[in-house]
């Protein structure tokens, strides 16, 4: 009798304790979420402040007299408009090429049989182990030889194949039953036709995840474009943004506005395509 009552009491105690732990977790996660969002709010709100308000003491959270002056300055005078157009161009060209070559090679390595296929594939995969600092110096030398310095050729052709993309596409295309491809072949379809008409529609979701993965990489790519592009009119957004540091060293209003223009479009798209974004990033966890 006595023990029963005791047990009931312990149970209630445990439940209460569990409840407290849950609330504690919510508070902790909430504070963490604030910490995650604060720099973004701070960046966006500051971009509507004047330079004098930005450095004022005590600081204001919301802009006292919201102004678009920074945006006009950065977009027109600093020529962010041009950087934006350049970035979009590079993004589209590089992503389309890398996606297509990934599907092509992924198909060749998973569905077409030829001598040495596995050896070649392993060699291609091994290139992922090479860190970029090892090749970047000679690549720069090559760009000199090819006269590709300050040209988008240096960005586009050096990223024509994406080893990781090939690997991911091979994984997904392997999952497509051979019988489907065989029957298309019997119907007289050529390999390119099979690739475009049968394979591509079947791996649409993997394709969009890979597209987002590649797009993010291209949009945020910094060091290589920074090294090979020399003239303002050719800069991509991150390269243009990096120059703020030198040219407008103390002009935080301009810097934060530039940062906002860089980050906000991605965040907005992310907001609507959360699942695809997370799948895209999660691709990097795929292993054989």
């Amino acid at each position: 009798m006595l023990t029963e009552v005791n047990e009931g009491g312990e149970d209630r105690m445990a439940k209460k304790k569990d409840y407290a732990v849950t609330i504690f977790i919510y508070i902790l996660l909430g504070l963490g979420a604030l910490l995650m969002m604060f720099p973004f709010f701070w960046m966006i709100l500051s971009s509507f402040k004047t330079q004098s308000e930005i450095v004022a003491f005590p600081p204001t959270f919301f802009p006292e007299a919201p102004t678009f002056k920074n945006y006009v300055d950065v977009w027109v005078n600093v020529n962010f408009k041009q950087f934006f157009v350049n970035s979009m161009f590079v993004l589209i060209v590089k992503t389309v090429i890398a996606l297509y070559t990934s599907i092509l090679a992924g198909y060749v390595f998973s569905k077409l049989r030829f001598r040495g296929r596995n050896v070649i594939f392993v060699l291609v995969l091994a290139t992922m182990m090479v860190p970029y600092p090892v090749t970047i110096l000679s690549l720069y030398q090559e760009m000199f030889w090819f006269k590709w310095i300050d040209s988008y050729n240096a960005l586009i052709w050096t990223a024509m194949f994406n080893t990781f993309g090939i690997f991911v596409m091979k994984q997904f295309i392997s999952g497509i039953p051979d019988s489907l491809i065989e029957s298309a072949r019997i119907d007289g379809a050529g390999e390119f036709r099979i690739l475009h008409r049968i394979i591509m529609p079947l791996i649409k979701s993997a394709l969009s995840a890979l597209a987002i993965f590649i797009c993010l990489g291209v949009w945020n790519d910094f060091l290589w474009p920074f090294l090979v592009l020399n003239s303002d009119s050719k800069y991509t957004i991150p390269v243009g943004l990096a120059l703020f540091k030198g040219r407008y060293y103390t002009d935080y209003a301009k810097q934060l506005t530039g940062a906002t223009i860089t980050v906000l479009p991605v965040l907005v798209i992310y907001f609507f395509l959360q699942k695809q974004f997370i799948e895209g990033i999660a691709l990097s966890g795929i292993k054989e």
């Binding site: 720099p39 060749v108 993010l216 980050v263």
Partner: protein, 302 residues
């Protein structure tokens, strides 16, 4: 007769498109990987024995001078140690905080997807833009961080301008940016843990902590391995944050990293030869960590 003829030509057509596809793909890949990967590695190795300057078109043999130079400069050791410290500290927090967040968020009934969305925000953002924002937050005189500290009676700190705090400041920014990355992997891993395991534990009356140590942590070992290894290999190549957040690698080279040193040697001092030596040290480091990973993976399989 006619039938057979059609079949034959169709067959030939298939064979042709197959051959064309394989040939084109392999030829293009061959050119690409030879030109932009194999040759660059070999040329960089050769270049490490030369006084190499592409801008001047110079390539003079100097023997092992570049190697001697690198190993005789104190700044190299500073960059080496900074890189290792940065790599291990950030990797540790990326694993630990990511795991904690995932376990917390996974157990929630409400706001699960909200938290996942918020913690993932910095992962999709440009590190260059993020760096600018954090430089402004860390600003010693008018930055918000010091002003918040002042409210709590803590005196202002130099952060990126302080030779002891500059590297930790960059670490904080990087951890903040990347913690959502590991969280997503851990959440996926938690999703794959069979419900029956938890049910068995519930019957045994296991507490949260016991569940964590006896079910979740061991079941998430593959994720931990992946996050740690990709973290180490990424962070060994630290550059963008150093370049953006500190002026010339900070006070007394406080934040100098191996890749920053490589960049500085090649593109400011035009010494591609010594830069190539540093490149191969980075290569070697990456290789060693990859070997350790394979070793550990084999052990965990056996």
């Amino acid at each position: 007769m006619n039938d057979i003829f059609i079949k034959k030509s169709a067959n030939r057509h298939i064979l042709n498109s197959r051959t064309v596809m394989i040939t084109v793909t392999l030829a293009a890949m061959g050119v690409f990987y030879l030109l932009f990967l194999i040759f660059p590695i070999i040329y960089a190795f050769i270049g490490s024995f030369f006084n190499w300057n592409p801008m001047m078109g110079k390539m003079d043999f100097t023997g092992i001078d570049n190697y001697v130079n690198v190993f005789q400069t104190p700044i190299f050791y500073k960059a080496f140690i900074n890189t290792l410290i940065f790599t291990f500290v950030v990797t540790f927090f990326r694993v630990a905080l990511g795991l904690m967040l995932a376990v917390f968020i996974d157990g929630l009934r409400y706001l699960k997807s909200f938290f996942r969305m918020v913690y993932f925000l910095p992962v999709v953002s440009s590190i260059i833009a993020i760096s600018l924002v954090w430089v402004w937050i860390f600003e010693p005189t008018s930055g918000i961080l010091n002003q918040i500290l002042n409210v709590f009676g803590i005196p202002s700190l130099g952060w990126l301008k302080d030779q002891y705090l500059a590297l930790p400041s960059i670490m904080i920014t990087t951890i903040w940016k990347d913690v959502g990355f590991s969280m997503v992997f851990y959440l996926a891993g938690l999703n794959n843990i069979p419900k029956s395991l938890y049910e068995a534990a519930d019957v045994d009356g296991a507490k949260r902590l016991q569940k964590f140590f006896h079910i979740q942590l061991p079941m998430l070992a593959p994720q931990t391995m992946l996050i740690a290894v990709t973290g180490i290999i990424t962070y060994i190549q630290l550059f963008d944050q150093v370049f953006m957040m500190t002026e010339k690698a900070g006070p007394n080279n406080a934040t100098i990293s191996l890749v920053y040193l490589l960049y500085d040697e090649a593109f400011n001092n035009f010494r591609f030869g010594t830069a190539a030596v540093i490149a191969f040290i980075i290569f070697l480091l990456t290789f060693v960590f990859s070997l350790i990973q394979m070793r550990l993976q084999n052990q965990s399989v056996n």
